[in-house]
């Protein structure tokens, strides 16, 4: 296997809100095509960090390079090259499935022909052709999450950020979602994902664990289990975060 380059390089990243330090000196790299699990307790600072990496929030200090650009200086260059699926469901509930694809495809700068082709591609893949003209509010949560992921990668981004994509989703749909993640990574898109399901942490190539604004552990699931003498990632997490 050839050495893969880095798609994300974070160096001494700090984010403060008033007196509160949400991200306290973060340092890590993510490789091209990697599935990187970004774990941590509620309030540890994960969403803050993701927003900075996506160019939605400015760092207080430090540097984050995403897809070749300094995100603090060139947030728009970064935004063109990434996809983002936010924690709260990110599609429009009063638009139809097709309209959501068209809207986001337009934002990502795809041509009409490309939007049409990508929409057909994903609906066929998800076996959701019949829902093309259904208003999103009428679609079950698990399906919505799969649609939101498809929309986030419809412009073939170099990295996709998924913030708790499977929260509240049933075990079967969660697994289908992870098949989509594997496939996306297999085709070269880097997947940066947060989750509270520790079985999903095992599906990642490497994971980091945040606690109170800092990254306190980073490695492959096997390395972390060995280091913390734990049977599962759930045990690792509980040992670190409690």
């Amino acid at each position: 296997m050839t050495e893969r380059g880095n798609i994300i390089e974070v160096s001494h990243l700090v984010k403060k809100f008033g007196d509160f330090t949400a991200n306290d000196d973060l340092n890590f790299e993510v490789k091209k095509g990697e599935i990187f699990g970004f774990l941590g307790a509620n309030g540890a600072g994960k969403t803050t960090a993701i927003k900075i990496l996506c160019g939605l929030s400015e760092p207080t200090s430090g540097i984050a390079l995403v897809a070749g650009f300094d995100v603090g200086k060139y947030p728009d260059k970064v935004k063109e090259r990434i996809g983002y699926m936010s924690q709260r469901f990110s599609l429009y509930n009063d638009l139809t499935v097709k309209e959501n694809f068209r809207f986001y495809g337009g934002i990502y700068g795809l041509s009409s022909a490309a939007i049409k082709e990508r929409t057909n591609y994903f609906l066929e893949k998800l076996e959701m052709e019949k829902t093309r003209n259904v208003v999103l509010s009428e679609i079950p949560l698990g399906w919505k999450q799969k649609l939101a992921f498809s929309v986030a990668i419809m412009h073939n981004p170099q990295v996709v950020f998924l913030d708790e994509p499977t929260g509240g989703v049933d075990p079967i749909t969660r697994r289908q979602f992870w098949e989509m993640i594997y496939e996306t990574a297999h085709h070269g898109t880097t997947v940066f994902v947060t989750t509270h399901y520790m079985d999903e942490a095992e599906y990642c190539e490497r994971v980091s664990i945040m606690n109170e604004g800092r990254i306190v552990a980073l490695g492959t699931p096997a390395q972390l289990k060995e280091k913390y003498q734990a049977q599962s990632m759930n045990d690792v997490f509980i040992k670190i975060a409690r």
Partner: protein, 312 residues
């Protein structure tokens, strides 16, 4: 199903929304002091059932009662005896922690002081932040506040709709320790969850799908009812392994399971299956093959039940 000790009785409840049959014909009896879990995919009908029990919506037909109280006729008394935590965070984001709690206490014509002993264990953990607006709390703290508010009027029954969705592993564990304490205080608890490890902590579980109850059992009996033999497989190529296993002739069900993949067989001859599977995976180019026989857990049973083709 009819047991003399039934405290909550749900009989032939049906409910539809527009063309969707949310509850087809649901009957369950729940004993006083039970910690009773509901699991099932999105749209299974769990929330609709909870909303009927809490008197927030009416059933189309059938009946439900808690103790001597009917959820339709005695709705005012029902509301006094139930604490409900809806799926979405539904406290007032612009009130402080303390204000939210006082508000709920006053609605039920009681005070925080009067029932403080009920919530001491939970509220004590968030009390240092009592001047903080509820909207600024972390997920785990929001859940603790919501549970405190649901408990403040000393209810006999707690109805908790996915209380731990979006909550981290440590906070979930603490939340379930609190639920066990509530149960020891004599409170009957109905809880839905998408986490199968939490289902294991219930006294009994109802498995729901498409508005039906598929089974009501103890976690131990659900695991025992698993049909077939289960193997856990790991190789050096986890990406291709799932589809290779799905194509293995004797495989019934194949699911990812943490760092392993679980595969179900009907054959009794496990050593022979393992031998065949090993040479099959070798032929597909897999290396570092690890195969072992494992006992099914609730999640295996859930996946097996949900994976069956829909009955017309």
């Amino acid at each position: 199903m009819e047991t003399p000790s039934a405290f909550i009785r749900i009989e032939n409840v049906q409910k539809h929304f527009a063309e969707v049959e949310a509850l087809k014909n649901v009957s369950i009896n729940i004993s006083q002091g039970e910690l009773f879990g509901f699991i099932g995919p999105d749209g299974a009908g769990k929330t609709a059932l909870f909303r009927i029990l809490t008197s927030l919506i009416l059933p189309d037909s059938g009946s439900a009662s808690i103790g001597p109280l009917d959820v339709v006729k005695d709705y005012k008394k029902i509301r006094k005896s139930i604490g409900y935590m809806p799926g979405r965070f539904s406290l007032y984001a612009d009130l402080t922690v303390e204000e939210n709690l006082q508000f709920y206490a006053r609605i039920f014509k009681t005070s925080v002081e009067e029932n403080y002993k009920l919530i001491k264990d939970i509220y004590g953990q968030i009390e240092p932040f009592k001047k903080r607006r509820a909207g600024d709390l972390s997920g785990g703290m929001k859940q603790k506040l919501a549970l405190s508010c649901a408990l403040i009027h000393n209810p006999k029954v707690l109805v908790l709709d996915e209380p731990t969705t979006g909550v981290d592993a440590v906070s979930r564990m603490e939340f379930w320790e609190l639920l066990k304490k509530m149960q020891q205080m004599g409170i009957t608890i109905l809880v839905s969850t998408p986490y199968m490890d939490e289902a294991t902590l219930c006294d009994r579980i109802a498995l729901m799908d498409h508005g039906n109850i598929l089974s009501v059992e103890t976690p131990v009996n659900i695991a025992k009812s698993f049909k077939g033999n289960l193997l856990s497989v790991k190789t050096n190529q986890m990406y291709g392994l799932l589809s290779d296993l799905e194509q293995f002739p004797h495989a019934e069900q194949v699911f990812r399971f943490g760092e392993f993949i679980h595969i179900t067989f009907q054959s009794e001859n496990t050593p022979e299956i393992i031998e065949n599977l090993t040479s099959y995976l070798n032929s597909k180019g897999h290396k570092e093959i690890l195969i072992s026989s494992v006992e099914p857990v609730i999640e295996d049973c859930f996946l097996a039940l949900m994976d069956q083709p829909e009955k017309a």
